[in-house]
C-alpha cells in the first residue's frame, strides 16, 4: 500500500469527523499490472460442468451396451466372410496376390453388420476418450476442492421428468377425448401449473391452445388420430364433423 501515513495521525484514520478531513490525491494501487486482461478466447473454452462425469459414465455405458450386443443383434452371427479373412483383406489393399475366384468386396459391405461396425468404431473410442477426459477434470476439481456434486442437476432432471409425464399423458388422452379437448386441457393446465394463476393468464392459455387447434387441425388439416372414443359416442353427422375439423 502506498498510502502516506503521518505516524502521529494513525489512530485518526479510523475516526471519521471534521477534524481529519478526507485526504485526496491518494490512489489505491493494486499489485496486478493493468496490461493483463481477460482474453476473448476464454469465451470459447468448454468447461465441464457438474454432472458431466455422471453423464459421461452413462454415455460410455450405453456405448458399451451396444458393443456388447453387436455380436448378436446386428447380423454378425449370420455373417458371410471368406475364409482366411486376413489374407483377403491384405489382397484388397494390394499387399498380396491371390489366385482363383475372389469374393467381391461389395458383397461383404452389403451385410447388415457393417454399418453398426462403422458406427461403433467411432462411438466406443469417443465415449471412452470422453470418459477419461471427464474423469481427469473431476479429479482435478476435487483436488482443488471445487464443487463436484451433481445434486442440483438431478433436481432439475426430476423437474423436467414431471413435464415429460404431462406430455405422455397428453399423448394418451388424445385418442380418448379427441384433439381439441385434449389440447385445451393441456394448454390450460400447463399454464396454471407453471404458475400463471390469474384468470387472464388461464384465459390466454385456453385461447392459445384453441388457436393452435384451429390453425393446424381445422385449416391445415394436419393428421391426428382417427379413432377417438369420445367422438365415436356422437351421432354420425357430428362425428364426421368433429373428426374432420377437430
Amino acid at each position: 500500500m502506498a498510502v502516506q501515513q503521518d505516524p502521529s495521525k494513525v489512530q485518526d484514520l479510523y475516526f471519521f469527523d471534521e477534524a481529519s478531513p478526507f485526504v485526496t490525491g491518494m490512489h489505491f494501487q493494486s499489485e496486478c499490472p493493468p496490461d493483463k486482461k481477460v482474453k476473448v478466447e476464454d469465451l470459447f473454452k468448454f468447461s465441464r460442468s457438474r454432472g458431466d462425469l455422471q453423464a459421461s459414465i452413462v454415455a460410455a455405458m450405453i456405448a458399451l451396451f451396444f458393443l456388447a450386443f453387436f455380436w448378436t443383434q446386428t447380423g454378425w452371427d449370420k455373417r458371410k466372410l471368406p475364409d482366411e479373412f486376413g489374407i483377403y483383406l491384405a489382397h484388397q489393399f494390394g499387399l498380396v496376390d491371390i489366385e482363383g475366384r475372389i469374393t467381391r468386396f461389395g458383397r461383404i459391405l452389403k451385410q447388415s453388420w457393417i454399418a453398426p461396425l462403422l458406427c461403433l468404431v467411432i462411438l466406443v473410442p469417443a465415449a471412452l476418450w470422453n470418459l477419461r477426459a471427464s474423469w481427469k477434470e473431476t479429479a482435478w476439481r476435487k483436488r482443488f476442492l471445487l464443487p463436484t456434486s451433481a445434486y442440483f442437476e438431478l433436481t432439475k432432471y426430476v423437474a423436467a421428468l414431471e413435464f415429460v409425464a404431462y406430455f405422455i399423458g397428453y399423448t394418451v388422452i388424445v385418442p380418448i377425448l379427441g384433439y381439441l379437448l385434449s389440447t385445451l386441457i393441456l394448454g390450460t393446465f400447463l399454464t396454471w401449473r407453471l404458475g400463471y394463476r390469474g384468470p387472464r393468464w388461464v384465459l390466454t392459455g385456453f385461447v392459445s391452445a384453441f388457436a393452435v387447434v384451429l390453425a393446424f387441425r381445422t385449416f391445415l388439416q394436419i393428421k391426428t388420430p382417427l379413432d377417438i372414443w369420445l367422438y365415436n359416442q356422437l351421432p354420425d353427422a357430428q362425428r364426421a364433423l368433429m373428426l374432420t375439423y377437430f
Binding site: F46, A55, T74, K110, L123, W129, A160
Partner: protein, 498 residues
Amino acid sequence: MEAFLTGFDSLMQPGVLLAIVIGSVGGLIIGAVPGIGPAIAIAILLPATVFLDDLVSLVLLLGVYGSSMYGGAIPAILINTPGTPVNALTTYDGYAMTRRGEASRALSLAYSASFFGGCFSIIMALVALFVFGPYLRDLGALFGQRDILMAAVLGGVLLIVAHRQTMGLAALLFGFGFLIAMIGRQSTRQIDRYTFDIEYLYSGFNLIVVIVGIFALSQALNLMVGKDDDPPEARITGGLLSGFREIAGRKIITLCSAIYGTIMGIIPGVGEFVAQFFSYSTARSLSKEPARFGHGSPEGLIASETSNNAVPAAAMIPLLALGVPGEALTAMMMVVFFDAGIKPGPDIFENNPDFLFSLFIALLIINGLVLATLLVSTKWIAKMVYIPNRFLGAFIMILSFVGVYSIRNSLTDCIFAVVFGFIGFVLRRLEWPLVPIVLGLVLGSIIVERLTAGAGQIKSAVDLINRPVSGTLFVMILMVIGFIIWTSLKNRRMNYQN
C-alpha cells in the same frame, strides 16, 4: 429474350401472384414455428396441387420452400430453437447475440444474409443454366453412390473437426446419431440392427421425430423448468437494413458462404446441412475473431444463413438440368413438374425455356417479398420473445405434438420424441453440442444407404476411391484428419515446452 418476357407474363396472373404471396407468408410462419417445417407443409400442400393450375401450385410450394428458412431463423435467434432443421447452426450465434441484447441486429443480419444468399444463388443459377446448360448432363455422370458416400463422410469429419475444443464429445454424439439412424429392420434385405425384436423399432427412428425431440421439446423442457427471463428491451433501432451494411463490410465471408451454399445445392444429394458446415468452418478460419464463433459472432450468423438460403435455388439446378433432385424437398416438388408436363432434364432448355424463367423470377419475387414482409412485421414477430419463457415452453410442447404426429400417425413416435426431448434437455444443461446427433442421424443414414447401394459395383476396396470425385474427396478427408493430428501434436509439444 422472348422466353424471359413470356415467363414474366405468365407470372403476372392474379392466381399466380396470390399463390406467391400465400406461399411466402405462409412459409415464413411455418418456418418460424419450431416443429413444423417446409417438409410437412409441402407434403400437405402436395395433394392440393393436383387441382390447381400448374404454375400456381409450383409457386405455392416454392414460396413455402424458399421462405421457410427466413422464418426458421427467427425462433433460432430469439428463443434458441431452430424453426426448421437447417437453421440449427443459426442457434449457436444468433441466440448468443439475442442474449447480449442484439436481437434486432441478429435478425437483420440473418435476413440480409439470407436475402443475399438467395439472390446470389438464383442469379448464379440463371447464369449457369444459360452458359453451361447443354454441358451439364455430363456432370451428373460424375456423381454416383460412392461419390456421395465420400461427400457424406467428409461432411461428418468436418463436423467433428469444427468442434475444436469438444471433438471427443462431437464424435461421441455423432456416433449416437449414427447409431439411432441405423436401428431398424428391413426384412426384405435381411437387415436387422439392434431391434431386440421390439416391433416399434422395426421401422427405426424418424429424423423429424428426433429433431423435434432434441431441439423443440428439449427447449420446451428447458424453458418450463427454468425461470422467466426478463430480456432487455430489444429495441429494433436503425431499421433492419443495418444488416446490409454489415454484410457489405464482410464481403469475403458472405460471398464464400453464398458460393458454398450454391455449390452444395447443386451437388445432388448433399443439401443444406453440409453447405452450412463447410461454410461455417471456412468462415471461422477466414475470420479475424474465430473464437467468437458459436458465441455470437456476426460472421458465424452470416455464414450459416447465407449458405442455407442459397441452397433452394441451387437445388433447382440439378433437378431442372439433369432430372436429379438436389435434396429431399426438391424431390417432392418433382411431382408438380410431372403434373405440369414439364420433363426435367437437358431437353428443358429447348422445350420449356419460359418455364425456367418463370421459376427463377418467382424465386426472386419470393425472396424480395419475404424480406419486405420481415422488414415490416419483424416487430410483431420479435414480440414473441417477450412471451414469458415458461408459457412459451408449454406452447412449444403443444405444437410439437402436431408436428410429430403428422409424420407417421404414430403415438409412439410422440412418446419417443419426448424421450429425445429429455435427452436433449440433459445435453443442454451440460452444454454438450446438440447438432452432432442430428447430423449423425442424417449423414449416417446417407452413408449407410450409399454404401449399400454402391456396394454392387465395389469389387475390391480400391473401387471405393478410384473415381475422380470420390478419390478427391477421400484425399481431402485424409488431409483434414492429418491436419488435425498435426496441430494437436504441435499443441502438445508447445504445452510441454511451457
